[in-house]
């Protein structure tokens, strides 16, 4: 099993949820995060005093899936969240050793 983490623009979440749902991927977990990458920092002013903002609000979507779904999910994320501009975000993929559903105790792919 794999864990696919996608750090995306918050405004893309709604659409991504729909796309994944249509692909048959229902399970996912969402985090509010702040991130820095290549995106240019901006200046704010509070009573005229400068603050340099270099962390931006992002949403992280985490999907644990069987190995063979990896590719299509990644493609789905790219297709949905790509605007081509800096700040679109990144996808990270990790190995998962085990999954257990708490309600039933099932484990492995059956638990997904």
């Amino acid at each position: 099993m794999k864990k696919i983490e996608a750090v995306i623009r918050p405004t893309k979440l709604e659409e991504l949820k729909k796309v994944l749902n249509d692909m048959g991927v229902r399970g996912l977990t969402v985090y509010n995060v702040m991130g820095r990458g290549l995106q240019q920092e901006i200046k704010h002013y509070y009573r005229g005093q400068e603050v340099s903002i270099d962390l931006f609000a992002k949403v992280k979507v985490e999907i644990i899936c069987p190995d063979h779904w990896q590719e299509s999910i990644v493609n789905g994320i790219i297709a949905t969240c790509q605007t081509g501009a800096i700040g679109d975000g990144k996808i990270f993929i990790y190995p998962v050793e085990e999954v257990i559903r708490i309600s039933t105790g099932e484990s492995g792919n059956a638990a997904l």
Partner: protein
């Protein structure tokens, strides 16, 4: 629609024929401390309505746009206050010209001072000017609800100055400053037409001109902070006592009656709005209750000094479902994006109130008022219809013209990127909420 237009045509003709009668010069009244205290405090209460509205509206937008709403409200307070002193008061309450507009005698509030206003219940003219200013303020602020989450701030600033001068000031003159509506006997106790219809209709026009918010069609946009909206509703309700009871311009029985029916209609509005939604989708909501209260307050505004408590209850029972229908169904069908329902609540609620004033008004409540339909005076109802129609046409048209002209010189709407990013960031360079004790973190995406 046709008969209405004809009626309006006749009315216009009729008005043009009225000789410009000099108002009998009223005796200078002696200062009355009770009435003066009342009007000054009521002015403070009405002033609080604009920050209250900022909270009411602010809770309804997404967190990335909350400061832009608050900013619009503060900007209106600044702009209208200064405009009022320089020009607005004299246009509204200067000596009448052709029943259409006030003369420039009070430019810069010249001569508006400590002496009691002639014909008043012993109130200094400065107090009267201050009281009326607060009405001009809240009215212009109401429009921000229709254009929320997408209008450029600089365009909004220019719009506010023009709108208050070209729409509000004449309307205030027509109804309260001795203009043609007053002359015809159209009743508007505290601003059903002047304040609520005018802002609601103008908001609708502005929403149409600006177009929908991005993503509006895909999803319902939810309020980000309902307790803030509730607080705003509470402050509005509180301030509304100053608005409606203060419009008696004296601490007397009429003020007391207006106070009582104001509260009642707000209460009945909660009742009926929540009832409607409970029947419709099975749950009573806090957002519905707060909306119903405001709808009730809007509805009673033109009627406040003229109707009985029981009439107020009936008005409240009617306004809830009607406004609920307007915001939950009609808006979708017509497809405009009146972000926070400035038209749906103030426009519709104000219209209903203005018409029902013509139904329920009774001289048995206030001998200085008129009788309405139920007291056997259908003419008053027709006059109210005329007042409503005229306000719709005037406010709608002039708003459209103002926006068209501004649109020639500058963009009315932010770019798509700015809208996604949120107006707080892109227009004002600020974040409403900063979570941690660290700088360098932003809600921007």
């Amino acid at each position: 629609m046709r008969p209405l237009f004809i009626a309006v045509g006749w009315a216009v003709l009729f008005i043009l024929l009225i000789p410009e009668a000099a108002l009998a010069a009223a005796e200078p009244a002696a200062l009355d401390t009770g009435n003066t205290a009342f009007i000054l405090i009521c002015s403070a209460l009405v002033m609080l309505m604009t920050p209250g509205l900022a909270m009411f509206y602010g809770g309804m937008v997404r967190s990335k746009n909350v400061l832009s709403i608050l900013m619009q409200c503060l900007a209106v307070m600044a702009l209208v206050s200064v405009q009022w002193v320089l020009l607005g008061y004299t246009l509204s309450f200067g000596p009448d010209h052709s029943l259409l507009i006030g003369g420039l005698d009070f430019l810069g509030l010249k001569g508006v001072g400590m002496e009691p206003l002639a014909g008043s219940a012993g109130i200094p003219q400065a107090a009267f000017a201050g009281f009326q200013l607060m009405f001009a303020m809240i009215t212009a602020a109401l429009i921000s609800g229709a254009v929320a989450e997408r209008m450029r701030f600089s365009a909004f600033v220019v719009f506010t100055i023009l709108w208050t001068t070209l729409v509000y000031d004449p309307l205030a003159h027509w109804v309260w400053g001795g203009g043609w509506m007053a002359r015809l006997g159209i009743m508007d106790f505290a601003g059903g037409t002047v304040v609520h219809i005018s802002s609601g209709v103008s908001g609708l026009v502005a929403a149409l001109v600006l177009g929908k918010r991005l993503g509006k069609d895909q999803e319902t946009i939810r309020p980000h902070h309902l307790p803030m909206t509730m607080l705003g509703a509470g402050l509005l309700w509180f301030g509304w006592f100053g608005f409606n009871a203060g419009s008696a311009l004296a601490a007397d029985g009429v003020a007391a009656q207006a106070f009582l029916v104001t509260n009642l209609c707000a209460a009945a509005g909660i009742f009926s709005w929540v009832g409607a939604e409970w029947l419709h989708h099975g749950k009573p909501t806090l957002f519905g209750a707060a909306s119903g209260a405001i709808a009730g307050l809007v509805c009673i505004t033109p009627a406040a000094g003229f109707v009985s408590p029981m009439a107020a209850v009936i008005m409240g029972f009617l306004v809830g479902p009607i406004c609920y229908l307007a915001v939950s169904k009609v808006k979708d069908q017509f497809g405009y994006d009146d972000s926070l329902d400035a038209f749906g609540i103030h426009g519709i609620g104000g219209t209903l109130g203005a018409l029902l004033t013509g139904v329920f008004a009774s001289r048995s409540v206030n001998p200085a008022g008129f009788d309405g339909l139920l007291a056997g005076n259908p003419e008053q109802f027709m006059l109210q219809v005329l007042g409503v129609v005229a306000t719709y046409l005037f406010a709608g048209l002039v708003t459209y013209l103002i926006l068209t002209v501004i649109g020639r010189f500058t963009e009315l709407r932010v770019t798509a990127a700015e809208e996604e990013f949120g107006l707080d960031q892109s227009l004002h360079g600020e974040d409403a909420y900063v979570d941690t004790d660290l700088s360098g973190i932003s809600q921007a995406s």
